[in-house]
Symmetry: C2
Subunit: 115 residues, 2 copies
């Protein structure tokens, strides 16, 4: 298959790896209500995580440090960092999370393109 397309309309969590036949990433689309959180702290063995806040507000506690997040913010978290995502107390948050294997990218853009 040279391409795969899916439309994500909403929902607490949509995982795209299988839906999009991804081979180099897992991506989830997440909505968290005001006052909500991911109910555990986690880290990763090999994967770098990249978050984009699509709308709303929240925060991420990374290794004990609180990072405020709002629409337009991008956050990269190293595999070993201990992280937990929170929505703001009075505002929900919609975000995507991209998992990729740390150090896996070779060339990109001009050095990987064929024009």
């Amino acid at each position: 298959m040279n391409y795969t397309k899916v439309t994500v309309k909403g929902g607490a969590r949509t995982e795209l790896h299988d839906m999009l036949s991804l081979t180099g990433a897992e991506i989830s689309v997440n909505e968290m209500p005001a006052g909500g959180c991911v109910p555990f702290v986690h880290a990763h063995k090999q994967n770098e995580e990249i978050y984009l806040i699509l709308s709303g507000k929240g925060s991420m506690i990374v290794d004990g440090e609180t990072v405020a997040l709002e629409a337009g913010d991008w956050l990269r978290v190293s595999p070993a960092a201990k992280r937990q995502m929170f929505a703001a107390p009075d505002t929900g948050v919609k975000y995507i999370c991209i998992q990729v294997k740390a150090g896996s990218l070779g060339g990109y853009s001009a050095t990987d393109a064929l024009i």
Copy 2:
């Protein structure tokens, strides 16, 4: 650095690899006015591309087939596929493009997490 954060407020194209110290992906945030297009067809040597339409409407021609795109749509394009992105004639489009090395992901989510 256990994390890096940047805020993208807009602009024709913002490339995040260096800004976010990414090691497993390149990500660009793009805005294209109505009637605009990427002015060339391209493919990739090794990288899978994943597009998310943030707002507006456009289309991608993939190997000669036109794929309509609007907000909420995700599109995976295989490395070898020849692609060109267009905004709709009457509506601009804002989108992100994620480049990852095809086949690079090992475990993910439950199999890569440490809780």
